[in-house]
């Protein structure tokens, strides 16, 4: 199968860089099996189904051997983002034949490995997937991160890289956040806690919130925790459990605020955010705060009082006309099967009495590039920053000031 004779012109197609796209070309017709594999990142050489009933067919010629070789080459070779090509000047290679006289591009990994291949166990991403590790990866340089993640010349890549470029004015790095459906809550809470110097006043008044919510409305009986298919599946009463989580939030906040330096505060936060029950409890507590806030705002709406605009949008959704349906159709699924919608980000900001400033990279070049959740308390509430490429996954940007301060400190010695 000669790809070059294929009628589809693959000029700007991501596959373009491959000169020997199919290593198996040496044995084109030999592997005649029918494999079916479950798409996940576990070892595919485990139990395999096969229509022909052939047990575990041999792994494809590309195998895993070349993977580790690539990894070694990459780690030993140039620094991240240091790969450059004599052609277009970017780290990627779209030269086709002209740039390399028919030889494969020397800066790229072997042709049967993808541009992104070989990264599986190296770099900051691996620390996110190991159990018990911090839910936030260490900070990496913003520019090289954007160049590494968004290679290519598609309109989308260019747009996203442009967005990261614009962020360079205030930020120098980014920390990847564990990417499950909790990431918006996780990123926000981490930012809030790591920047707090004093627990907020309202924190002292939320201890009774679980009982208040459960009281007349019986709302909390509808709460479900991750891992439970039905509300009330778990052994503990949700009200008591949430009370415990609220108390945990209060204690954690106070402990973090008491830290003597920003660095220690950060370390303390990293200790808390380890993917365990502690972190989960804090995030569930946040959800409870959001519910409380939604209830309060809904009451105000019913009394004809002034409420921020997002409330109308929140309760105008067919699926959440009231706080009860907001809980059953939206909030209790957050962290399980869904994340936060934008209108719910407003609610989160209100619940924490802070302005969440989000750089939305797929909106770069528009007025929605930088969005404030909420936008009506920018002067009086503390502000935290997040970055997202798609309004689904949120990461934490790292401010430039700390590195400048550290550099100045180093320079003055």
């Amino acid at each position: 199968m000669e790809l070059r004779d294929h009628p589809m012109e693959l000029r700007d197609h991501p596959m373009e860089h491959r000169d020997h796209p199919m290593e198996h070309r040496d044995h084109p017709m030999e592997l005649r099996v029918s494999r079916e594999t479950l798409v996940e990142d576990r070892d595919p050489n485990g139990p395999l189904h096969s229509f022909l009933g052939n047990p575990g067919a041999a792994s494809s010629p590309s195998g895993t051997g070349s993977g580790s070789e690539t990894r070694k080459r990459r780690e030993g070779g140039g620094a991240e983002g240091g790969e450059s090509c004599a052609g277009d000047g970017g780290p990627q290679c779209f030269h086709g034949d002209a740039g390399h006289q028919g030889r494969p591009c020397p800066t790229l990994p072997p042709s049967d490995e993808d541009l992104y291949g070989g990264d599986e166990d190296s770099g900051p991403s691996s620390s996110l997937t190991a159990e018990g590790s911090c839910s936030l990866a260490p900070a990496v340089d913003l520019l090289s991160y954007s160049q590494r993640e968004w290679r290519g010349n598609t309109a989308k890549s260019v747009l996203i890289r442009k967005g990261y470029q614009q962020m360079m004015e205030g930020f120098c790095g980014v920390r990847r956040v564990r990417g499950d459906n909790y990431c918006a809550l996780r990123a926000t809470l981490f930012q809030v806690l790591s920047q707090t110097t004093q627990p907020p006043d309202w924190l002292h008044h939320v201890a009774m919130l679980p009982e208040e919510l459960d009281g007349p409305e019986g709302l909390l009986s509808l709460w479900s925790f991750p891992g439970e298919r039905q509300p009330g599946d778990g052994k503990r009463d949700p009200t008591q459990r949430l009370k415990g989580y609220i108390e945990l939030l209060r204690k954690t906040w106070t402990a973090v605020a008491d830290c003597p330096s920003a660095l220690q505060r950060q370390r303390q936060c990293e200790d808390v955010f380890r993917g365990g029950e502690e972190e989960l409890g804090l995030l569930e507590a946040l959800k409870l705060l959001m519910l409380g806030c939604a209830l309060e705002l809904h009451h105000r709406m019913q009394q004809g009082l002034d409420v921020p605009v997002f409330c109308w949008l929140l309760f105008a959704r067919d699926s959440s006309p009231c706080p009860r349906t907001f809980l059953t159709n939206h909030l209790r699924h957050v962290g399980v099967s869904g994340g936060l919608e934008q209108v719910e980000m407003f609610l989160l900001g209100y619940a924490l009495r802070c302005t969440i400033q989000v750089y939305r990279l797929y909106m770069s070049g528009t007025e929605e590039f930088l969005t404030y959740y909420p936008d009506d308390h920018r002067d009086d509430w503390p502000c935290v920053s997040l970055v997202t490429e798609d309004d689904r996954h949120y990461n934490v940007p790292v401010v430039k000031e700390t590195t400048t301060a550290a550099a100045q400190e180093a320079a003055s010695r």
Partner: protein
Amino acid sequence: MSFIPGQPVTAVVQRIEIHKLREREHLILGFSIGGGIDQDPMQNPYSEDKTDKGIYVTKVTPGGPAEAAGLKMGDKIMQVNGWDMTMVTHDQARKRLTKKNEDVVRLLMTRKSLEEAVKCSMGGYANR
């Protein structure tokens, strides 16, 4: 969707976005694939053309991320996050879907019922 050398391949396509689920240290998508240029296309029950070596969805796990995104058994995957899936080996296909640093895969897929829906709505005009 059959491939005739010299003629452009056309298909009615749909975009589907699957948000992978993290289960401990694994990323779950919730579906199985069959097909690939190194596989036997005659065994594929979903393809119209029995020489089609594309990647097809053979199973969708109920309640999984793929089902939630609207993927169905029998769908043919044309692209994953911009990478072509019509001319790949089975393993390459699996790798493209399971990159650890990607939490979301955006698929370009097609299925027979889509073509038929379009044909019906165009009053059979599309049948050349």
